[in-house]
Point group: C2
Chain length 324, copies 2
């Protein structure tokens, strides 16, 4: 009896695998190691309850063959599908990236679940499915859903495909919609970008946009806690929840300042123009987590606290990686 | 200056092409002729303003090559993307059908538009994107969007991909969401099924489900009129409208009775159990067309009138096809 995690070597997948293993579960992990890295799961590879296979799950045959070779009599009881493109601007430039890595990975996961009769899926969806609703409070039932990025589009497409499968051969689906998640192992995102920029030019940090873009941030430790909580407490056929900080978020300016303070206190900060970082990026939005509150879960950290915590962790990670 | 219509040999595409040609527009039509037929556009093929190419647009290279060979110096000003799988149960049994024919045709159309710098797309979406919202009035901004069929899922996925493209390289998109459309040339649907069943067993019509399933029906002549009206009158970047009859619809029982009366008056009707015809079918729903009213368009026919009109047309079509 195992849990299958796709994208297991990525930022969220690796934290999730660790959490399940700590609870005594058996985990089968898949990853193509394009964005995820073996170092993210280095401590897990030796554990008897963890099996890992490198595979490109956007190819159904490879997916099926990899699973066959690794299962060895194990039964998969549920899939936690975390694999996706995480480079949103790359997906804006080339729609094929999110088609392949964000959507086809989901489509193929559903095909595999049908073949292996796996009845439960937990899916890493995204606040990006909501698009730019002009500052409206983003409750789970809001519409219309017009994503602004191919990433958001292919996350919504994934939700839709899972929803249709629930009508047909899946018993239960969990849709976790979260905005920016931060922490370690950081593989992408604005904080890692800033820290790496400061490594190259320690006296000045160049910020895309005017720094007023405001978002809420959730620490990955809290995200994992919330997902496991929802999995345990909610048992509709389609369980869909926003997960996020319980506030209006912090600005890019705040993040830049936190990072400069921690990493390179003498550096100046240069801002650009406009409050969109790149095409498909959604400026300030207000994220409702009332539904999750009502289920009984609240984050312990504010967006500002999560950022402060993660800045220290990522700075340390980057120092370590330089030493290596 | 031409209009490109995908799925031009299908039920809606062929009517749309005829409408544009009547208005003096030049039309380039593509179709793979899997569900559409040449006979649907037989009267158009000789017209100098109409060019047709058989091609499988779910393959991007074939799509590109076909367009290159047919364009001959023409500029495409807008795309009316009507190509899709129309056999919803087939897509429930094999998710690959709607992936290929309903979604990849859209994805590739967007790629082509990017390459050829075509800035406007009009898309045949569907009421199926709304899924089963338990009888709630289906206004355009309703949520959550959890489709019950792969057809609905891949229509929603298409809307999402188009929405992301609007953020990036497309100026204007039209999303026409319609429920069951009826009329000729009928290629699929409950009315054609019933008429063909009665051809085989003229004394009895077997109906899936208990006949209480209720839907609104729009005649294709009215659909075309509404789409052209919206294209002319609405000029947001994302224009999304329900199009439908202005009533609560009619039951399957009503349709069965109309057809028996017209085609085989002595036949009895046998009903099944339950009010879902097949997995992914959504029972009675209430469809709001207030937004379209406010724009200034109303259907002339009720669902019942549209059904009565279409029954006669389809019965005639089927007699003609038998003679041929």
């Amino acid at each position: 009896m195992s849990i299958l995690i796709t994208g297991v070597a990525g930022f969220i997948g690796s934290n999730l695998a660790r959490a399940f293993l700590c609870k005594g579960k058996k985990v089968i992990g898949l990853d193509n190691l394009c964005r995820g890295t073996l170092s993210n799961i280095g401590d897990l590879l030796a554990l008897p309850d963890f099996r890992f296979q490198r595979v490109n799950i956007s190819n159904l045959n490879e997916y099926r063959n990899a699973l066959n070779s690794i299962l060895g009599g194990c039964t998969v009881t549920e899939v936690w599908h975390m694999a996706a493109n995480s480079n949103i601007p790359a997906g804006v430039n080339d729609a094929g990236v999110d088609l392949r890595d964000t959507f086809m990975t989901t489509f193929n996961t559903l095909e595999i679940m049908k073949e292996l009769k796996i009845s439960t899926i937990a899916f890493a969806s995204s606040s990006a499915i909501y698009g730019d609703l002009g500052g409206a409070k983003l409750v789970e039932d809001i519409g219309p859903l017009f994503p602004a990025s191919n990433y958001g589009a292919m996350k919504l497409a994934s939700e839709a495909a899972i929803s249709a499968a629930v009508e047909s051969f899946i018993d239960k689906a969990y849709f976790f919609r979260f905005p920016n998640v931060i922490g370690v192992p950081a593989t992408h995102g604005v904080m890692l970008d800033f820290i790496r920029k400061l490594k190259v030019t320690p006296d000045n940090l160049v910020v895309l946009g005017d720094g007023t873009q405001q978002k809420c941030y959730l620490h990955v430790e809290e995200l994992i806690d919330a997902m496991l909580f929802i999995r345990e407490k909610s048992s509709d056929r389609r369980n869909y929840f926003n997960i996020g900080a319980d506030d209006e978020g912090v600005t890019v300016k705040y993040i830049a300042e936190q990072i400069v303070k921690t990493v390179s206190p003498e550096a100046s900060i240069s801002y650009g123009i406009g409050n969109k970082g790149w095409v498909g990026d959604v400026p300030k939005f207000s994220y409702s987590i009332r539904k999750l509150h009502n289920l009984g879960w609240k984050p312990k950290l504010s967006s500002a606290q999560a950022v402060a915590h993660a800045v220290k962790q990522i700075a340390l990670q980057e120092i370590d990686s330089t030493v290596c």
